[in-house]
Amino acid sequence: MSAAAHSVIEPSAASKRVAGAIVILYAVITMIPLFWIIATSFKTPPDSIAYPPKVVFTPSIEGYCNLFTTRTRQTAEYIQSLPPATNFCDETTRKRNMVIAGPSNFLPRFINSLVIAFGSTFCAVLLGTLTAYGFSRFKVPLADDLLFFILSTRMMPPIAVAIPIYLMYRELGLSDTALGMILLYTAVNVSLAVWLLKGFIDEIPREYEEAAMIDGYSRLQAFRKVVLPQATTGIAATAIFCLIFAWNEYAFAALLTSGTAQTAPPFIPTIIGEGGQDWPAVAAGTTIFLVPILVFTILLRKQLLRGITFGAVRK
């Protein structure tokens, strides 16, 4: 008798195949919008609005050209009089009776997003780690109430606090500044960071710090040399969650930033208006916008996976 054929724990080959097929099907369905965005970013404007939609098309980087530039319409005679185009972007622009007038705002907005998202993530994780350590290791009076208070800052919908914050920021001169956005996202994320990290730090036995303190280190040194290295998994997972929030945040950014500190999310939809409905440029902006979070998540995916299942995997 074959034991493997009737194993209770090991699923049969057929059920594994069915499970695999379901997972692949689900992945395909959820990936279609993503694929469509990326595909659109490589279409020409006529291809992007063609009906029936074009699945097979000749790729073009016109969308990316349009994303990074602003263009003005010119007469055919004027374009004829120009010296020959030196690159692809010049050429395609001229074909549409336009010339490149200068760089668009996309790059500075994208840099704003990077600065604000990574800056606020750094602050939130730093403050969160120290706070979580404090709550985990010291007898804090009313610790449970304080922790609930910290969490409660996240309970209100952004729209409920948007107007007070708007007024407050205007008075403080923080409207449309990178510092203001970093402070805001830090404040929102720090509650998540404290709660997540407290869970991780609670699981690191106190004996490690006690051993280090007996070995001649101060508490802060013990924290840095013994606790932090063991909390890296939790810190990485927390950082990803914070970064994703700050990177994708739209409501506050749309309300509080309009010029110099504007981030990519409120900027990207405005591309539509510049010179007709330029879907490839919008898609190109979205595609580039996806990249940093994708890279960061892939770099830290091991920690993220362990982080999500924390408690289950760690002894």
């Binding site: 036995p205 004996e207 490690y208 006690e210 051993a211 280090a212 303190m213 007996i214 070995d215 001649g216 280190y217 101060s218 040194q221 013994v226 290295p229 063991q230």
Partner: protein
């Protein structure tokens, strides 16, 4: 190395008193064991000596210096934790060298010191391994290495063998004692395991509910338990108790337990009318058909050289340790003879042992020795 002196030490956690007025002295180079059931305050006492907890009141002196309110890192002690607390992100070499690094010692110097300690503990072949893959005994040795590399004033160990399996534990008991004989470090060792305590200790303090019930050598604690708790806690099987009520006077050499006259070591104090317990170690019971103390054999536990025979008597179950070759049948009626010179007497209300010739004899022997 240094002497440890604990005076009137007390620790309260809120309304709970973990340690009540402990007093003891661990002499320089002594191996001292605190023994007791879980929650008896032994670990709290140890943590106070280490500086991981601050006492509510009382003093701790290390080598004559009052360190009661000092931080752990200012006390120059080493601590071996129950789960070893080896830093998981460092290899064996860095773990052992970690305390030296704190002192700002030069890298080359740390290297030689770590290697010397590793050779002493026979773990020099493991120095560059990560600690996560080590076997229990090797983890134990690394933890010891980290403790001794600094040559501290004393070693504190919190049930360091608790997680090892039985076979390995015996080996480590032997190794620890051997190490102590070689380096003569003042050691305070906490355990709930009486075998470890008996095998290693120069002195033992038996603790219960935050109180030191008895402080003495392993022999004193086994032969002349100061309280019923100690008598019951030490020995396997523990001491038997025969309960009786009587009026006892100084000079009594016999007690009557349900009509049976039992010879005891001469009583050296007036105890009056009260409930008493006669304490009998299993090895001080032998079978004697002529005895008036009788009972039926309930069962036997064979141990190789000896066997433990449980006998159901009118006064309760008694366990006797008799030679393994003696045949016993379950249900058989037997007479039990007791070795009168070695019995203990306890006042049942307080649990305290009464003073008998047994104590004076020991004192005399001690004085002559």
């Amino acid at each position: 190395m240094a002497e440890i002196r604990v005076e009137q030490l007390r620790k309260e956690f809120g309304s709970f008193t973990a340690v009540q007025n402990s007093n003891f002295v661990v002499e320089d180079g002594e191996f001292f064991v605190m023994l007791g059931p879980s929650g008896c305050g032994k670990t709290t006492t140890l943590r106070m000596i280490a500086g991981l907890e601050l006492p509510t009141s009382g003093r701790i002196l290390l080598g004559g210096e009052d360190v009661s309110q000092r931080r752990a890192r200012e006390r120059d002690i080493a601590f071996v934790f129950q789960l070893f607390a080896l830093y998981p992100h460092m290899n064996v070499r860095r773990n052992i060298g970690f305390p030296l690094l704190a002192q700002g010692m030069a890298t080359a110097e740390i290297r030689t010191q770590v290697e010397e300690v590793a050779r002493l503990l026979r773990i020099d072949h493991l120095l560059d391994k990560p600690v996560s893959g080590l076997a229990g005994g090797d983890r134990q040795r690394v933890a010891l290495g980290r403790a001794i590399v600094r040559r501290p004033k004393c070693f504190l160990m919190d049930e360091p063998l608790g997680t090892l399996d039985a076979e390995f534990r015996d080996l480590m008991v032997h190794e620890l004692r051997e190490l102590h004989n070689r380096i003569h470090a003042t050691t305070v060792y906490v355990t709930h395991d009486q075998h470890e305590a008996m095998a290693m200790a120069d002195k033992i303090a038996v603790m219960n509910h935050g109180v030191i019930e008895q402080f003495g050598t392993p022999q004193e604690i086994y032969d002349r338990p100061a309280t019923m708790f100690v008598a019951d806690f030490i020995g396997s099987p523990p001491m038997n108790f025969l309960r009786f009520g009587a009026h006892l006077r100084k000079g009594d050499r016999k007690v009557g337990v349900r009509g049976a006259e039992i010879v005891i070591p001469e009583l050296r104090e007036d105890a009056g009318e009260a409930d008493y317990a006669l304490g009998i170690r299993p090895e001080h019971i032998r079978f004697d058909d002529g005895s008036t103390l009788r009972g039926a054999v309930y069962g036997a536990e064979y141990l190789g050289t000896t066997q433990i025979v449980a006998v159901e008597t009118a006064e309760g179950m008694l366990k006797a340790r008799v030679p393994a070759d003696q045949t016993v049948k379950v249900g058989e009626q037997v007479g039990l003879a007791l070795n009168g010179a070695r019995l203990s007497l306890f006042d049942r209300a307080s649990g305290r042992a009464l003073r008998t010739a047994l104590h004076d004899e020991a004192l005399r022997r001690h004085a002559h020795g």
